[in-house]
Amino acid sequence: MLLISAGILTVGAILYTLFVRAKDLPEPVPPSPVAHLEERRARIYEGLRDLQFEYRVGKLSDADYQQTKLSLQRELAAVMAEIDRILGVKPAPKPAVAPQPAAAPPKQSAAYVCPHCGAEFAQALKFCGECGKPMTGETGA
């Protein structure tokens, strides 16, 4: 009894380990040349979202918000450009002069509605918590 179970244990373990058939090999996953860049991009998007939220919550000063947002956008643009370069995609066409004219027609002339994207806010903000553009009504950058 002991000998039999010892034999089964030994033979079983060794056979299972050594006997690999061709169909047991895993399907090769084509490695993506941009996987790590996409990860980076997802992370920066997340950072931008967080930043906007923090600003909306009121934790950041206007200057901090603008500066950090710009540097995040720059980094993101660089990552996207790099992805496009690797994949050989042509960069997006240059946008029209007015970035998003039809996206959001301002509903009221209240100071708390963003003239660019139409987002509404409970309190007055210098910059929109949604699109980040100045809330003053003049078409900024």
Binding site: A13, V29, H36, R40, A42
Partner: protein, 669 residues
Amino acid sequence: MENLGALAILLAFCLSLYSVVGSLIGKWKKNLFLTISAQRAVYSIWFLLTAASSLLVYALMTGDFRMAYVAAHSNHAMPALYKFAAWWGGQEGSLLFWSWLLATYSAIVVFTNRSKFREMMPYVVSILMATQCFFLILNAFVVSPFQVLAVGRGITEVPDGNGLNPLLQYWSMAIHPPMLYLGYVGFIVPFAFAMGSLITRQPGDSWIHTTRRWTLVTWLFQSCGILVGAGWAYAVLGWGGYWGWDPVENASLLPWITATAFLHSVMMQEKKGMMKVWNMVLISATFFLCIFGTFLTRSGVVQSVHAFAQSPIGKYFVVYLTVGIAATAYLILDRLDYLKSESRLESVVSREASFLFNNLILLASCFAVLWGTMFPVISEAVTGEQVSVDAPFYNRINVPIGLFLIFLTGVGPLIAWRRSSLESLKRAFMWPAIGGFALMVALFAAGVRHFYALMSFGLCLFVAWTIVSEFWKGANAIRAKSGGNLFGAMFELTHRNTRRYGGYVVHMGMVFMFIGFTGAAFNKNLITETELGGVLHIGKYELKVSDLRDGENQNYAWNHAVVEVRSGGKFLGSLEPERRFYKSSGQSTSEVAIRRRLNEDLYLNYAGVNENQKPVIQAYIFPLVSWIWIGFATLIFGTAICLVPSKIRLQYARTEVVGMVGKHAPAER
């Protein structure tokens, strides 16, 4: 049966060796069959070790006293739970348990990554299996759990075993060691992936994303292990301490501290691609401290109550540690170019900079603990005289460090990434700081003169305030946008970014624990003999010993005192501290009785009767201790939140952002 067990271990050892070599050769020769076969060996090893462990547990359960391990750690009278727990109750069994856990982890790693990381996996497998191989050498050749008594002695069998140490016959002792081992062993997974990606120079930080959950879960196990151990010490050892700076306790704390530092500083790498070298160092240090802790516990290098019997395994650990650390250091130094930082610091007043200080403080406390633990050895080597440091040394150094750490816990999360101007800081900190300061003044006015306690309470309020206001402000911002009630908004808020808000909850748990630790500044104790019907006074309580009883069962004899507790004439209930005498091991233990309340615990220990035939009662008041266990529960809850995937990510994955070529964005899980 013992032959079968020993055979299984021996086979597992051979297979682990095969797996290390096969994996590497398969990688170098690009032979996929060999690589897969090496991965299969991992499953085989798991199966073999499961078989061996089952045999050992079966022997313990059925009381096969021909085997040395069973005779030493089990007996007939023990309840089944403790018979099972005897698996990790002694040196040999616990090393087998360790091997089994490692095999389990490895099998899970291989299974979950079976079609991923083709470049890196062979190295990951070989690192895991090299460690497995090391432990199996110990299991098979040095401290075999399947040794029979007959070897080298005249006897072949004893009628009954010694049983598990009575102090360990307590429910949480059945949980504490496995938890701690799950923590100790688990850190090898992030370490193996870190090394794998370092060896193959993987682009990006995929090792971090892949092992994030591993690290967190392992960290949670480690925390549970430490805190359950503290709870056990508090409730069982009979002197009300939950932490004694014992070398073995320290050994479990060290990797926990570096892992905590790692969990924080890894964010720098994820967000900004900085501190890559440092993160490698931290994860390696964590892993090697785990091994070092095992070494410390088992080799008898330093004196400790917890230490297992002295054994020859010390030198094996020294060899493994030396080789492992040297190889890791070489790898890191050789690949510094791969670990180059991708960006820079924008400002000194930023989250990034606060993480630097967080890391410094954590590492400093880790170093202080390590230094204190090793000081007897070091001083003996240098001066010839063994000088040990005791609790006052650790407290004097770690209390200020801990206070600074809790301060950073409040400050760090409120400083924005990249930069924070004075105005932003003022918005975030003015009210919490005023609140904390006001509490200190109020407590001082109320007569609290203990400097550290004042600081600690003030800082705790400060941190709690910042955390609550984070939730409050965030939830209100969500409500302003999408309506709903406050709880719904908080749920939404947490779900949006589980890591951050789960992290806040963990921080809150730490605040609760610090409140509990601070209570120790106000402990009271009273040790006295009394008589039946005698009344003792401690704090606001009146204790009356109303009865003394005794009896016995199969496992132990007991006698206990019935103590009526009154406060201001009001009857609060009675406590029954007990003293036990375990028959098979001839040891006695005390079962303390604790009246746990949020403000203070009343803790009674019955020491039996003295030479004058009078009962001796030891009474303590431990203020705020319960907050440590509340903090523990909060910590588990917070970590669980961190493990839930954030909602953001999933949405992002579905959005199919422009520029994606027929592929989903990497949704990390």
